[in-house]
Amino acid sequence: MTSELLHDQQKPRTYSFDARPHEPAGAKPAKRLSPARIMIYSLLFVATLYYLLPLYVMVMTSLKGLPEIRLGNIFSPPMKLTFAPWVKAWDGACTGLYCEGLKVGFWNSIKITVPSTIVSIAVASVNGYALTNWKFKGSEVFFAILIFGSFIPYQVMLFPLVIITRELGIFGSLSGIVFIHTIFGMPILTLLFRNYFMSLPPELFKAARVDGAGFWRIFLVILVPMSLPIFAVALILQVTGIWNDFLFGLVFAGLKNFPMTVQLNNIVNATQGVKEYNVNMAAALLTGLVPLSIYFISGKLFVRGIAAGAVKG
């Protein structure tokens, strides 16, 4: 066998396309509109309608006046655009005793979310670090119970926790609700941090120890700076989770500190007075605004946060 050179520059082609003009050649003709494709996109379209319609209805309803709502159609855009429902929802809607709108709840939610997020992440990150690099006798057992505990319905622990927080003198206060969020954020966050720290090369930790760095130094100087993405994931997870919480806020925060979700529910399900659907929708949108903004801005990190628990890292 002699060597055949395959470059067309070096050797004239044996065949050319002209020789067999009717043969299939090149890319398969794109079947852009094959029945399968049409099917896929139609199904996706139907699903998109189901998911987007409520948002659309919410926005449209919140921009209409009450008379128009009574006549009309939830899908039709407002004939007369009004922002009054938004103003009322924020500033004047009645949440039980007071008629100061959702703004009270908004600020309460901020006051609850900020410290709860910081404290719970601080505790859980150190925790995950201890579980990864400084295992002690029994640490795995505690971790197992912790994860197991995250599946226990909150209702089971609710009353004893009321007693505990009351004994600690923090029931019905901001400290109380921060305390509760720190406890119930611990399983998922610890898992998140532990899995992340485990994925880092252990040599890094060993080298730092050989260099004489201690527990806190290694954590603060070496691990934290290189774990910023996972802190961002934890942040997103906690801010949305705590903002959306209802039960704990209702039980532990105390009347004065009711978060936005509780106040929204009070506005919507108030038994007295005329139902103002437009105000309700504006209030619901306002309540959803913070987590939705986080979701749309953070994108992939949000997905990573919710997948963290299920897909093992």
């Binding site: 189901y50 509780v262 994108g299």
Partner: protein, 297 residues
């Protein structure tokens, strides 16, 4: 060296133990302690305050004679079964559709997941409005000319649970979709190539090859979703307040109402113990399988 000055083992690795203290306290006091407390006091006569007056199974006997509790149980079973089936079927189908090299993939994914970022309260409020028979979807379709159109699930005693289901699926299916998509994407590319060479149609590849390979992800998702279903509370409060009448009551709401609104702690504790038992029945086999499999591997 260490043999000469052997420190008390309790103080070895002290910093780590201090750092783990919140976790140790949480597991011992909250997850174990509080649960045990609840179970123990469910056998007492406690009314508005906990009492040490043990009365055996009296609270449970009363619980299972209360129609409100029985309705709660029935509701959560119906909701749970349908929510699991639909969220998995729809979630998987959506994930598989998104996996078909479609255009605007991330847009679709974003749309299917955004309700998951919302509070159940918001979800409940929106769907309460949409499903409102006199002004919502039903009225709108009728006003467009289809006079006989009927969609009043939320108003019917027997159907209100399905109204909750529609809202719950709207919020939760995206979560299942994301996890299923992660599972699908983590299957080996070459498996797909092998299946194409074998001439296996796409749907069969998903059904007979990919899904069996995703057993771990599916089981874990199943447990998370199931544990979430047992906790169902906020959505009911926001959407129906348990109504019409008591037809959409659920166990978590029963517990809350008896503990905090009706001053009947014993009932609340007994009901929450039943919830705990249910969750344990879901979790223990799973944990056993997961743990057992890891041990073998």
């Amino acid at each position: 060296m260490s043999t000469l000055k052997r420190s008390n083992p309790l103080f070895r690795n002290l910093n780590a133990k201090i750092a783990a203290l919140p976790m140790i306290a949480t597991t011992l006091v909250v997850f174990l302690g509080c649960s045990i407390w609840t179970v123990v006091y469910s056998f007492t006569k406690s009314r508005s305050l906990p009492l040490n007056d043990f009365v055996g199974l009296m609270q449970y006997e009363r619980l299972f004679r209360t129609s409100r509790w029985l309705i709660s149980l029935e509701n959560i079973v119906i909701y749970g079964v349908f929510a699991l089936v639909f969220s998995f079927v729809v979630g998987f189908v959506l994930a598989a559709l998104i996996d078909q090299k479609i255009r605007f993939e991330s847009t679709f994914r974003t749309i299917f997941l955004y309700p998951f970022a919302l509070s159940f309260i918001v979800t409940g409020v929106v769907w309460q409005w949409i499903l409102n028979p006199t002004m919502g979807l039903q009225a709108s379709i009728r006003s467009m000319g289809w006079e006989s159109f009927t969609f009043d699930l939320i108003a019917g005693r027997d159907t209100v649970i399905y109204a909750l289901l529609i809202a719950g699926l709207w919020q939760g299916t995206g979560f299942v979709m994301v996890l299923m998509l992660a599972g699908i994407r983590s299957t080996d590319d070459e498996i797909w190539k092998a299946a194409r060479i074998d001439g296996i149609p796409t749907w069969k590849t998903y059904l007979f090859i990919v899904i069996p390979m995703m057993r771990g992800v599916i089981m874990t998702t199943l447990v998370i979703v199931a544990a979430g279903i047992v906790k169902l509370y906020d959505l009911v409060v926001a959407m129906t307040q348990g109504g019409p009448g008591i037809s959409s009551e659920v166990p978590a709401k029963y517990v809350y109402d008896f503990m905090f609104a009706r001053g009947n702690l014993g009932q609340g504790l007994a009901a929450s113990t039943v919830m705990l038992t249910t969750v344990l029945i879901i979790i223990i086999p799973w944990a056993y399988l997961e743990y057992g499999r890891k041990k073998k591997g």
